[in-house]
Assembly symmetry: C2
Homo-oligomer: 195 residues x 2
Amino acid sequence: MSLIQLSLPLILASASPRRRELLDQSGLSYIVDVSDADETCDTKDPGEYVMELSRRKATAICERHPNSLIIGADTIVVYDDEILGKPSDEKEALDMLMYLSGRTHQVLTGVTLLRTSHSGILLSRTFAEVTNVTMYDNDRDLLQRYIDTKEPMDKAGAYGIQGMGALLVERIEGDYNTVVGLPLARVCRELGDLT
Amino acid sequence: MSLIQLSLPLILASASPRRRELLDQSGLSYIVDVSDADETCDTKDPGEYVMELSRRKATAICERHPNSLIIGADTIVVYDDEILGKPSDEKEALDMLMYLSGRTHQVLTGVTLLRTSHSGILLSRTFAEVTNVTMYDNDRDLLQRYIDTKEPMDKAGAYGIQGMGALLVERIEGDYNTVVGLPLARVCRELGDLT
């Protein structure tokens, strides 16, 4: 049972377990289908970047799903116009977390929603949501213990706000779920408009 | 494994499953022990109100737990200086949700942390955290479908941000977990100071 009534199958073009948990929270039924999309992107503007990657993820699978709704999404962490991806090792994770400590950074999630017909894309919407995240002035020992949990290693900006990373965060401004990886309320509302 | 090292047993003086889920997220070990505390309170100031109730919940069980750390907490929803509790029926839930739609309200969580010795309370800290929550301009049909899920009925302000209620919320300012029911980061950090 969900608050939003969809008359078409819903496809999530993302392998992220955090995005699946968010969609589960909405009560919507969906299937996951992921295809390799080219993730190299020359755009320097963070909003353009996440929107372009969300578009590629959604369009990469659209031919396999006629008469459906497709969600593509991409999330990045930005501080001082610099995009922070996933850390390559523990040292880089510690550097990122030290860099973000005591400061406010942005988390951007780009989303593309596609409505396909029997022969192609009928409607398309792409947007980006931004949430400000302010970290406590975390000391190195605390951050090292966080890294020892391994939680940071597969996450943009080296933290997960929905896990133990919550202990590092003082406050946010915006949609919490944008930080987790999918601005759930806006996605559900816009999906309702597309059916 | 947790980021915070506690050298004493931790007791949660709350039966709320949402508070338990938050403490689980922190990785801390704890037990739950709840005693009936008097929840009638004449205070009109919302901050004083949640702090007083958190204090009562924590002190109600402190004699049973020497040499321990105890957490008491209470959460309320406030709009225009009016405290909204749990709805008594579906009509009141709809009234509350219509009232909050398109507006920004406050969620307050009061917390009391006690450090007991072998003979009584050794240290005590009480604080309140406030988070602003802005609702979408939700229409009556959507809100009625939300009420049909039964989710609102046991929740202050008639919504749960960690459930399908997320679809009603546009943005927040503050700690997300204060809205869920426990400002987890601050609680864990202050617990670390008490041991």
